[in-house]
Structures are given as structure tokens and as C-alpha cells.
């Protein structure tokens, strides 16, 4: 069995006002994990821990089989990282950055770099200072993708992009992700982006990884139920069923373990099930956070 691209076990990092709390996470080689969480959930801390830039207080981090942060140099030779707060040098050109990065990475593919520049409609001679936010993100992705990393760690790369730039970036990522040996961890608070490219989804909130599963499994197992409880009955308390509106006879409930048996149980309890609706990833995320915060 091959070692996962990313392995985190019980990783904890405490700050004065925030704790990355006991995160355990595996990303298999070739898979694309979307990490969804609100601002301050801990996504960036988690990713920086993966790069060895933050030393955890407890737990184990391995990236491409390398112990982090001790073996960060060897690991980073095969990792491409782009984050929303990453900046390039203002007064030099994209070409200068390409030359700088190509000297560091023997795997740099100059032909592919030119292809990327063309696809992203970037002129290598342009100074970074004159680039829009979208162009800067594309320039950073060019610098990362052209060295053909085995693992991509992308921290909110689509944040702040206009729809066209977002589409171009996601389309390029989709193409890159066709390579089965390449693994990706992609964070965003835009669930549509994550849903589009990921095959595994993880939810983070308040420093904790609250759920992680195959995307299709998420979408299949979460349902919103519109039910009516007769006056002489009360809404049954079923495991993994949360009532969004507990008052009145008409109720909306969500569940993360939907199956036919659940509707059967509800009907036996005198409940009329009017509709069983699929949920979007965003709705699933919100319900998951609600469930997690309720349990905490």
C-alpha cells in the first residue's frame, strides 16, 4: 500500500485565541481534497503546518512520506503551494520570477510554462506591479504548475477572482488534476469551486476537522426532509436528524445518514413526509457546522 500524499495525526497547534485542534487527516495519492471552512476555521494554519512553516505542539505531519517540519526542504521540492496572501516581487517581471524559480527546480518545464502563460493570457515581460489580482494568481499558478509538483496545496486560490478568471483557473486545475499521480489539497469558502474539482471533501470549523468524506457520499447521505407532525404526535428523536424549525406541525429536518429506513421510521411515528430533497454542498456544510457547534 502506498503512503498517503498527506498524513496528519492528532495535530494540535495552540495560539492565544485559536487552536488547531487534534486534526487527523489523510489524502491519498491521486486524490483531490476540498477543504471548506469559514474565515478563521484554521485552513491556512493547517496548510502552513503541512508546509513545515508552523511547527505543531502535538501530533505527526508527513507530506509525500517526509516528516514535517524536519524534512521540509525535501518535501517542498515536490510540493506546489499557492495562498491568497502570497505576493510576488512588485518591480520585476513574470519572466524574472520564472527564471528564478526554474533555477531552483530541476523539474521546471519551460515549454509548459509558456503554454500556461498563453492559456492565462499573461505576458511574461509584464512587471508584477501592473497586474490585476486575477493575473497575479494566474502568474503564481504558472510558477507552481510549470515545475510539475506531485502535491498541490492551494489556499483559497480563487478568492477575489472575477468569474472569468475563476473559470480559467479552475479549468487549468481540472486539466492538471487529470494526472493520477498528482494530489491536491484545495481550500475555499466557495463551495461551488470545491464541489467542481474535488473528489473528497473536508469541513473545518473553529480549528477542528468536523467531517471528511467522499464527495458523492456527502451528497448522497445528506437530505432535507419536509415533514408534518400530526397534533396528537410528537416529532421523533432519531439519530442524525436535526429539526431546523422545531415549532409547529410543519417541520424541516436535515440528516447526514439518510436512507429509506428513516422515512419508514418517521411514518411509523405518525409523521407525514412531504418531500425528501437533495442538498447543495453549501447547505451540507452549514448543517454540518450547526451539528458540530450544537454537539460542542
Amino acid at each position: 500500500m502506498t503512503e498517503p500524499a498527506i498524513h496528519m495525526n492528532g495535530v494540535t497547534k495552540r495560539y492565544r485565541d485559536f487552536t488547531l485542534d487534534n486534526v487527523t487527516l489523510d489524502i491519498e495519492t491521486g486524490s483531490i481534497m476540498g477543504l471548506i471552512g469559514p474565515n478563521g476555521a484554521g485552513k491556512t494554519t493547517l496548510m502552513r503546518t503541512l508546509l513545515g512553516l508552523i511547527r505543531p505542539d502535538a501530533g505527526e505531519v508527513r507530506v509525500l512520506g517526509r516528516q514535517m517540519p524536519a524534512e521540509q526542504v525535501r518535501a517542498k521540492e515536490e510540493v506546489g503551494y499557492v495562498s491568497e496572501d502570497m505576493r510576488l516581487y512588485e518591480h520585476v517581471s513574470i519572466r524574472w520570477h520564472m527564471n528564478f524559480v526554474s533555477r531552483i527546480y530541476p523539474t521546471w518545464d519551460p515549454a509548459y510554462a509558456e503554454v500556461l502563460l498563453d492559456r492565462f493570457d499573461l505576458a511574461a515581460s509584464h512587471s508584477v506591479k501592473g497586474l490585476s489580482h486575477g493575473q497575479r494568481v494566474k502568474a503564481m499558478l504558472t510558477l507552481v504548475l510549470a515545475r510539475r509538483p506531485r502535491l498541490l496545496i492551494l489556499d483559497e486560490p480563487t478568492t477575489g477572482l472575477d468569474p472569468i478568471a475563476r473559470h480559467e483557473v479552475l479549468a487549468e486545475l481540472m486539466e492538471v488534476l487529470a494526472d493520477p499521480d498528482r494530489s491536491v489539497l484545495f481550500s475555499s469558502h466557495n463551495t461551488q469551486d470545491v464541489e467542481q474539482i474535488s473528489d473528497v471533501i473536508s469541513f473545518m470549523d473553529r480549528g477542528r476537522l468536523i467531517d471528511s468524506s467522499d464527495k458523492e457520499l456527502f451528497l448522497d447521505s445528506w437530505r432535507r426532509l419536509r415533514i408534518e407532525v400530526s397534533a396528537d404526535a410528537c416529532a421523533p428523536e432519531l439519530p442524525n436528524l436535526i429539526y431546523d424549525r422545531p415549532d409547529g406541525s410543519l417541520k424541516v429536518a436535515t440528516t447526514n445518514r439518510f436512507d429509506d429506513a428513516m422515512t419508514h421510521q418517521l411514518r411509523e411515528a405518525g409523521v407525514t413526509v412531504h418531500a425528501v430533497e437533495s442538498m447543495t454542498l453549501e447547505e451540507i456544510f452549514l448543517a454540518n457546522v450547526q451539528l458540530s457547534r450544537g454537539a460542542a
Partner: protein
């Protein structure tokens, strides 16, 4: 530590800050030439410009190269904390030393012509130069350790002021030293050599302490 990577990062820093460094490389000899060839009014102006350049180097160079670094980008590359700190220290010294050397070449001329002092004052000039170097090393260390613009500016200014603040104390030094400094020949008294040695050791210790403290940082971003 990966020396080729350190060299790459140093070259990168010199390239990024090339215009400021080029300006100093061209400007300082020009100022020195003006001071060497002109009357005392121009010499005083030149000396003021020279000191301003030293202050710029001591405060704004660390701010530009250390605090202005695109650290998330650089640290996403196969760079270790040791590589990063070593490149900042080495790059900073490489950027500072040309200015410092020009300053060192011009200072004896100024001491002799503008302050009507003879070669005997050279040991004093050497101490001033060593103080400038020590001050730069300390300011860079503060910038690397605390990563704070305010702390860097405050410490940089305090150290520059300190160099001038000790000047009035020179009158309280032993007469023998003062007489030597007023003489026609440079005499390197043991006290002078000991002071220069102590400053050199302190600069080296500051560099080592900076290196150790920064590379041991828990969060390197």
C-alpha cells in the same frame, strides 16, 4: 544548510534591490569625490549626505530586504529556515559593505581636511566605522528576530544616535589617547585595538545569536 540555495537567495535580494544599491554605489563615490576636491562648505554637505546614506543603509535596507520579503512565496520553495536566515544575513552584509567601504575611504579625508585632524585620528575613525557596522548588524538582527518595522526603526535610530552620543564622552578619555589622536601619525593603542576587537566580537556574536534565534522559531512565516 544548502549553500547554493543561500547564494540564489542572496543574488535574488541584490537583484531586487539593485536600484537602491546602484544609487548608493554611484552616489557615494560621487559624494566622496566632491568632498575630497571641494571647499569646506561642500565637504560639510557631503558629510551630511554620507551620514544620511549610512542611516538609510542601517534602517531602510533591513526594512526593505527583511521586512519587505515575500516570505510566503520564498518559504514555499525548498528553503529551510537556516537557508533563509543565512541568506538575509549574508545578503544584508553584501549590500551594506560597499557603502561602508566607501564611507571608510572617505572618512579619513574628511577627518583630515574638514576637521583639520591629522592621521593620528585614524584609530578614532576606525572605531566610528566599527560602530556603524555593529549598529547595522544589530538593526538587521532586530528586524529578523522581531519582524517589526517599528522595532527596527526605533533600534536603528537609537543606535545611530548612540554613535553620535558617545562623541562628547571622548573628551573624558585619557590624555594619552587624545594626544595620540591629535598627532601626525596613527598610533594603534592597545585600548583602541581592544575596543575594535570587542566590537568585532560583538558583531559576530550578534550575527550568531540572530541566526540561532530565528532558525529555531516555531512558526516560520
Amino acid at each position: 544548510m544548502n549553500l547554493p540555495m543561500v547564494r540564489t537567495l542572496v543574488i535574488k535580494d541584490l537583484r531586487i534591490h539593485r536600484w537602491a544599491l546602484l544609487g548608493l554605489a554611484v552616489g557615494l563615490p560621487a559624494i566622496g569625490l566632491i568632498m575630497a576636491l571641494s571647499n569646506s562648505g561642500w565637504q560639510r554637505l557631503g558629510m551630511i549626505l554620507m551620514f544620511n546614506s549610512m542611516i538609510y543603509m542601517q534602517i531602510f535596507l533591513p526594512i526593505g530586504t527583511i521586512l519587505g520579503e515575500k516570505k510566503p512565496f520564498i518559504m514555499s520553495l525548498p528553503v529551510s529556515p537556516s537557508d533563509y536566515v543565512a541568506s538575509k544575513i549574508a545578503g544584508g552584509l553584501l549590500a551594506f559593505l560597499p557603502t561602508w567601504i566607501v564611507f571608510a575611504a572617505v572618512l579619513p579625508i574628511v577627518v583630515e581636511r574638514d576637521f583639520a585632524m591629522a592621521a593620528g585620528a585614524l584609530p578614532l575613525a576606525a572605531i566610528v566605522l566599527a560602530a556603524c557596522l555593529l549598529s547595522y548588524v544589530a538593526t538587521s538582527g532586530i528586524a529578523l528576530i522581531f519582524e517589526s518595522t517599528l522595532a527596527t526603526v526605533l533600534v536603528g535610530l537609537l543606535l545611530v544616535i548612540a554613535v553620535f552620543a558617545v562623541m562628547p564622552l571622548l573628551g573624558r578619555l585619557p590624555d594619552r589617547l587624545l594626544q595620540n589622536w591629535a598627532g601626525e601619525v596613527a598610533i594603534w593603542d592597545p585600548e583602541v585595538l581592544a575596543t575594535l576587537g570587542a566590537m568585532g566580537l560583538l558583531a559576530a556574536a550578534t550575527i550568531v545569536a540572530t541566526f540561532v534565534l530565528v532558525r529555531r522559531r516555531v512558526s516560520f512565516i
